[in-house]
């Protein structure tokens, strides 16, 4: 019951006028960003971070705004999947399979509203899962010493690559590159400058927000320039939506599917490195095996719309569990959210729940509120979003680029940071061409310093003995999982990833 009273306090925080307004704004912007092909959850959240700072928002309101964007983007992705057969973001890829055939049959409205309900169910149960699981994970995390934390960070890096890239060498490269970039600046323990090459701007280290916005948002602009893909995918197509309520029989038919895939998606989200794309993928695959007796999946079966949408939203909630409880994000977007927390001087992890319960529970309450707002926004008002799909990238992309510049300039007021951001944009473009995943780079720049600090702390405590890293059963266990997580995808990963790739258009190479 402790949990319920904490949740009650959370609602007291979230239900202020300002926070409700921010949640509403976040839900709206998130849905728009999810729906527009080319803007996914991670770059959507990334370009809004500077806005949250310059508004002078405190930790809880900023998080409310940005997690509403996160949940909203997960809802929005389905709109263009269903109407245009182009996923608005990567997790919505699987929704194309049955969503678009339904729209072709003239049931676009039903598909949109059903998937809205499915998103709601997934996110709702995942938020409860977050409430129940996160405090348990915190209890485990309190047993962690520096050596275990070092192992945990290694685990995050080693498992992250398995899903985001086909080539483990490339994900290892990306992680090392991110960690290497994090080392730039004055060493916090001895005060000596490292890798600064005498440049005063670098003494403080690279601002990871600059890296994130450059890698995600600017590289997207460059991709669009390269393909000269300036016209809206929706142009010249008729977007008739039709009736906006699914019949009861359809909801009833889909209920078991939604309940099963909520659980599955949530579990996929909690696992490190998996994230929402995998959540929707395995949900669809499992439902296809379980209930597709007549072979209707892929031809516009409502259950084939409900399964991936529930799965991806449940995974989005699940991915918040390791981020909040351990400080180790399981996906790209939660890595961006972690960057927000770190910039606000809040260190996620077990102590967050005892030191800043207002942040945690206010956030969780806001997730519930945002979820209801999104349901309301996504069913009756879905027409607004379908019209926004007509905005062509030749208008959208300059706006994205300029908002990124404004945001970064607004934080630091220096041209140097803008140049660094452009550098990251170009690097992001080249690396995406070479199929090097970007998420481990971000995670490396975010976690590099605390990973090193834990390593040094662990060894210093043990008087310089490096064996202390594998001294306890807990750290041995973590290392074992990390190594298995790194090797498994080399053996099996290609199969799964290729299956996912078959459905993947050239849209959005950023895995969330």
């Amino acid at each position: 019951m402790e949990i319920l009273s904490a949740l009650g306090d959370g609602f007291a925080i979230a239900l202020t006028f300002e926070n409700l307004l921010l949640a509403l704004l976040g839900c709206f912007l998130g849905t728009v960003m999810g729906a527009l092909p080319g803007l996914g959850p991670s770059n959507g959240v990334a370009i809004l971070i500077p806005l949250a700072f310059t508004l002078g928002l405190g930790p809880t309101p900023s998080l409310i705004l940005l997690t509403s964007v996160y949940y909203g983007a997960m809802y929005g992705g389905r709109i263009s999947s269903i109407l245009l057969n182009i996923p608005g973001d990567e997790p919505a890829m699987m929704t194309c399979l049955d969503g678009h055939p339904m729209a072709k049959k003239g049931m676009a409205g039903e598909a949109l509203s059903l998937s809205g309900i499915a998103s709601f169910v997934g996110a709702f149960f995942a938020t409860w899962g977050l409430i129940l699981l996160a405090p348990q994970l915190v209890k485990v995390a309190l047993l962690f010493g520096p050596a275990e934390y070092f192992a945990l960070f290694a685990l995050a890096f080693m498992t992250l690559g398995g899903v985001s890239s086909t080539n483990q060498a490339k994900s290892a490269f990306a992680a090392a590159l991110g960690l290497g970039l994090a080392m730039i600046g004055v060493d916090t323990q001895t005060g000596v400058p490292r890798f600064t090459f005498g440049e005063v701007h670098l003494y403080d280290g690279l601002d990871f927000l600059v890296a994130i916005v450059g890698l995600f948002a600017l590289s997207e602009v460059l991709i669009f320039l390269e393909e000269r893909h300036g016209s809206a995918s929706a142009e010249g197509r008729k977007l008739s939506v039709g009736r906006l309520t699914p019949p009861w029989s359809m909801i009833k038919q889909c209920t078991p599917t939604m309940l099963r895939t909520s659980v599955l998606g949530f579990v996929a989200g909690v696992l490190p490195g998996a994230g929402a794309s995998l959540g929707s993928f395995i949900s669809y695959s499992m439902e296809k095996r379980l209930v597709d007796k007549e072979g209707t999946f892929g031809t516009g079966d409502p259950r084939g719309v409900a399964a991936p949408e529930t799965g991806n939203n449940a995974a989005a909630g699940g991915a918040l569990v390791p981020m909040l409880a351990l400080g180790v994000p399981g996906s790209g977007t939660t890595a961006v959210l972690l960057a927000v927390l770190l910039s606000l001087n809040i260190t996620p992890g077990p102590l967050l729940f005892t030191q800043n319960p207002d942040v945690v529970w206010g956030l969780i309450a806001a997730l519930f509120i945002a979820n209801f707002m999104l349901l309301a926004m996504n069913i009756p008002m879905v027409g607004i979003f379908t019209r926004l799909l007509m905005v062509p990238p030749r208008v959208l992309m300059p706006v994205v680029a300029m908002v990124s510049f404004v945001g970064i300039y607004g934080i630091s007021g220096s041209s140097f940071d803008l140049l660094v951001m452009i550098g990251f944009g170009v690097m992001g473009w080249v690396l995406r061409k070479l199929d090097v995943p970007l998420v481990p780079i971000i995670l490396g720049t975010l976690l590099g310093n605390s990973m090193e600090a834990n390593l040094r702390r662990a060894i210093t405590i043990d008087n310089g003995d490096w064996w202390t890293l594998v001294d306890s059963p807990l750290s041995l266990g973590l290392w074992a999982v990390a190594i298995i997580g790194f090797i498994m995808p080399i053996i099996f990963g290609r199969v799964v990833k290729n299956k996912m790739r078959q459905r993947k258009d050239e849209e959005g190479a950023i895995s969330d």
Partner: protein
Amino acid sequence: MSDRIFGVFGVLLAIGYAMSALAIEESFLSDAVGPKAFPLIIAAILGISSAVIAIKPDPEPHWPDIGRFVEIAAAVVVMVLYAEFLPIIGFVFATALAATYLAWRLGSTIIGSVATGVGTSVGIYVIFHLVLGLSLARGPLGF
């Protein structure tokens, strides 16, 4: 071929990184590990993974033709100029010019690009500066 070049570049990067890590001056007040050890571990991972990429390359990615390369290079130059001139000519002009260029290169008509550029610039100025109070770069005219 791309992956082989990339891998070789990565190995060189790792060597350079390791060398600058070795060049870090140790402070006389150091902990047991010191500021060099972790960067050296990173350099090792960077080097090994790059070597693996070079030895076992993936299929060739789809590179754009030379015209598209020039396109991207030109866009990068425009962005760099934007960053450099922003504090000098002020936010509104710099942003309008840069956004117009990008819109034009993404296939808008001339009039459409100017409209997009001016609209983006003024829109951001109104929302971020006048409404939200974010301080933007000031030019000689005060905006």
